[in-house]
Amino acid sequence: MAATALDKKQIRIATRNCGFIDPECIDSYIGIRGYEGLGQVLTMAQADVVDLIKRSGLRGRGGGGFPTGVKWGIALSNKADQKYMVCNADEGDPGAFMDRAVLEGDPHSVVEAMAIGGYAIGATRGAVYIRAEYPLAIKRLKKAIDDARSYGLLGKNIMGSGFDFDIEIKYGAGAFVCGEETALIRSMEGQRGEPVSKPPFPAESGYWKKPTIVNNVETFANVPAIIIKGADWFSSIGTATSKGTKVFALAGKITNVGLVEVPMGTTLREVIFDIGGGCPDGKAFKAVQTGGPSGGALSHKDLDVKIDYESLIARKSMMGSGGMVVMDEDDCMVSVAKFFLDFTMDETCGKCTPCRIGSKRLYEILEKITQGRGTREDLSRLQTLCVNIKDTALCGLGQTMPNPILSTMDTFADEYAAHVDDKKCPAHVCTSMLTFSIDPAKCTGCTLCTKVCPVECISGTKKLPHVLDASKCIKCGSCYDKCKFDAIIKQ
């Protein structure tokens, strides 16, 4: 059992109630001053609420990092007969699950924050866009909305203030691009989930062409705490440009897989080693991917980077929604880049050419490299294509899609070089470049490998060293996995 014996490096604001209250019981939430923030806000002027959020320094936790108060201010200043407050719960990054945790553990804080935001911008209607793959989160959110309604904390004339606000749930079908706000809005309108060019921004013209604010689940979860504890309290936590905390989903080759919430400015080293316990089985840390398929890989050289929006972008990665996938010495960075490209290639909506066709071409070049057929020219083509896609794609998905390739090419240039120049995969992952053989000094002749080899390319007499016929070997690795004596050599 890996003990997380450490100073309290974590501060839980967005996840303050997860694991402490009964998410299906509104009284449990009211008992910890739930909806008091909303009650306070309803006695304030709208502009003062916007100003309070501005002063807190809260920025969008979905990844973009746009100042939440500024966004609300734009919607407030746009006059319209109807405005909308939307919660983006279309969490789709591989390895990210913080929004689900918040919705399953503390749905009322999101409901309360949406009402606060609604009041601030002058919206009477709200919607949560949530992926249908989150049934428990949907069930608890639904119950939270129903209970809030029956207490009069949603609906007409909330707490006698004259303010009306209600929330409906909209289901997403799991398309990654629908996390992009303009695609999300189109999907909510019943159209294809495809982005449109900005401007106009949704805060000016969004859902049904009305001013619309789209905020992420985690952004909302911070709001009630900011209202009650004040903007100064919130802005006292974090770095000069990034205030408060960020929730990360630690996954991959990490001992303590789980959610962590740390103040902005915490180093990657503290998150991965002090809290996460480092890589399991004594393996060496190699890289960490932040920002999911839109982010980049950071190496051991970047471990002392203080996490905030700007410092991660300076290192060619990004904050993203908070997925943190850790890789160890057994991971091939070209294959990792290929994995993320495979994801974005699948998820591109196909509307713009750079993303639709560019992703396919990028993937093909990466496949060529991992199969040992790559050349130096391929590397420069890869680089050029990446830059062109970044410059020309329509939305955030396409513009950030090349990031995993660019950052791994930059940080792990030697690994790309080994693939194209020496036709070797240093991490022994790209099987087409591997050769398998048997170490006669270690082989005991147990015959186990002959039983698992699907092409019967291993032969020998019982209790005597065996031989592997490399010309027949399909490099599946079954013998390597099965051998108990480390006698199979993979190089």
Partner: protein
């Protein structure tokens, strides 16, 4: 249900709730993490077994509650037990055998059970 018509009414409601929750101070509170992932890891099974064990031992001062994600994916299922007058203790990897042990050893005898996760965060309380 009567609706809450002002901030004062909300605050009064909160006082009622806190009053009601005071009754729990004399009880053993067993909080089982039941998010999607905790359920997949066997959280519901742990809850059932502990309930059975409580019934079999005729314990009447135990209250069960569910909560969401406790953030320790590597240690699921997780169960937090608060004995009267004591600080909450979080137990990890609560399989069928551990669930039984938590009741017979920790709840009934107050004896230590292995697999405790120390508190490694500061929780912001409003």
């Amino acid at each position: 249900m009567p609706t809450i018509k002002s901030l004062d009414e909300l605050k009064a409601k909160r006082q009622d709730i806190l009053e009601r929750e005071k009754a729990k101070l004399d009880k053993v509170v067993i909080n089982v993490s039941l998010a999607t992932c905790s359920i997949a890891a066997g959280g519901n099974l742990a809850l059932e077994i502990m309930k059975e064990e409580v019934a079999q031992n005729g314990l009447t001062n135990v209250e069960f509650m569910q909560s969401g994600c406790m953030t320790y994916c590597f240690a699921e299922p997780t169960v937090e037990i608060t004995l009267p007058g004591k600080a909450p203790v979080l137990f990890c990897g609560v399989d069928a055998a551990k669930a039984k042990e938590l009741i017979t050893e920790y709840v009934i005898k107050g004896e230590a059970v292995e697999g405790i996760i120390p508190v490694n965060y500061e929780r912001v309380v409003l």
